[in-house]
């Protein structure tokens, strides 16, 4: 494919906040389709490789900024990033092209896998394999939790909010939205702006 998106080499002042002129919608779709089809084991490194390194559609600072917004919003990082980057490049059409591209390969695959599992899921060797897969997946989620804790917590007291959330959902069986609203508001108030300023933390 022709690399027509790399026209950002013009020496524009403040290039960091200017998108390269008119990336074609089709190219946005295809680029996210490739990410959607190849990003085994987590999309973030693949997104960075494609958007920042290969196509120069956004720079590294914008990438990190968009990722932190994606992380704070409901929705998966992968699809939120697609929406944010698509919007940045070509507005609403760009967002639609990007999210369709990144979702399509995995959706088709899981459609087929679901049918296959429904028919053959009872075979002894499949049940045995899936028992191992599920156990491995638990380890994978735990490693995500550890990684996120290292990266995005801003103080020891945050562990209290983590504990409150877990106890509310797992022990007290309070629904996720209620927990989210109550503990979320408490945590946001705890990190109120004056405290943030005093700690000298700037975004």
């Amino acid at each position: 494919m022709n690399e027509t998106g790399g026209k950002s080499t013009l020496p524009a002042a403040g290039a960091a906040s200017t998108a390269p002129a008119e990336v074609p919608i089709v190219q946005i779709f295809l680029e996210f389709l490739i990410i959607g089809a190849t990003s085994f084991g987590g999309v973030v490194p693949y997104l960075r490789g494609s958007l920042v390194t290969k196509n120069h559609w956004i720079d590294d600072k914008e990438f990190v900024e968009m990722l932190s917004i994606s992380q704070s919003l409901p929705g998966l990082n992968a699809t939120n990033m697609a929406i944010l980057v698509g919007e940045r490049l070509r507005g609403a059409l760009g967002s639609i092209a990007a999210i369709l591209g990144i979702c399509l390969p995995g959706a088709v695959l899981m459609f087929v896998v679901g049918i296959f599992y429904r028919i053959h899921g009872d075979h002894v060797w499949i049940t045995a394999a899936l028992k191992g897969v599920a156990a491995a997946a638990v380890g994978l989620i735990l490693s995500t939790v550890v990684g996120l804790s290292k990266k995005s917590l801003s103080g020891k007291f945050d562990f209290v909010f983590i504990a409150m959330t877990v106890i509310a959902v797992n022990r007290l069986h309070i629904s996720v939205p209620r927990t989210l609203i109550v503990v979320g508001i408490l945590a946001i108030l705890f990190h109120h702006p004056r405290k943030v300023q005093k700690a000298g933390v700037t975004p």
Binding site: G75, V113, A128
Partner: protein, 175 residues
């Protein structure tokens, strides 16, 4: 019975719970898809979720399988739109507004405050899943091994999940 309206309702609701990651919605997903609507059983939900971790792209594509089981091809499409539509619209709205809020002091407070809550939700989802997935010493050992390897080495997690399948066949096949 026509499950399409229920699929749309359940998955658009779950969509808004995925703060921090898809796992955050897992406890509620179990209650709604398994206990309330009986689209699948708990073991199947765990299996589909785990298999989904090996697929490329956004890591909750297993919802498509649930949609397909409950409502065929139409069910799969409805679930996709219901699960990704609401958060996509929200992200789109925020994309336009967030930059303007750069000077708003509460912006950092919201990000810092939501971080521990989203981590807690992921952990709660993980515990819900572990209740079904960790059934003995062997499965616990696999989980801990995957966790330690991922913390220590830069290795593609999908490879470890595939290794889990191999270890599963080797250790859990009835003799």
């Amino acid at each position: 019975m026509n499950q399409i309206p229920a699929l749309a309702r359940v998955f658009s609701y779950l969509s808004l719970l995925t703060v921090g990651g898809g796992m955050a919605a897992f406890p509620e997903m179990k209650i709604l898809t398994v206990d309330a609507h009986h689209w699948l059983d708990f073991k199947q939900l765990i299996h589909l979720y785990s298999v989904g971790q090996m697929a490329p792209g956004p890591n909750m594509m297993m919802i498509v399988s649930i949609g397909q089981w409950a409502g065929g091809a139409l069910g799969a499409i409805v679930v996709l739109i219901a699960f990704f539509g609401p958060t996509a619209l929200l992200a789109f709205a925020v994309a336009k507004g967030w930059r303007k809020l750069e000077k708003w002091p509460w912006r950092t407070s919201i990000q810092q405050g939501l971080a521990p809550v989203s981590i807690g939700l992921l952990l709660a989802g993980c515990f819900t899943m572990a209740k079904g997935a960790i059934t003995g010493t062997e499965t616990a050992a696999i989980s801990v091994a995957v966790l330690l390897i991922l913390l220590q080495y830069k290795i593609n997690p999908a490879l470890l999940v595939v290794s889990g399948a191999v270890i599963g066949v080797l250790s859990f096949m009835p003799k």
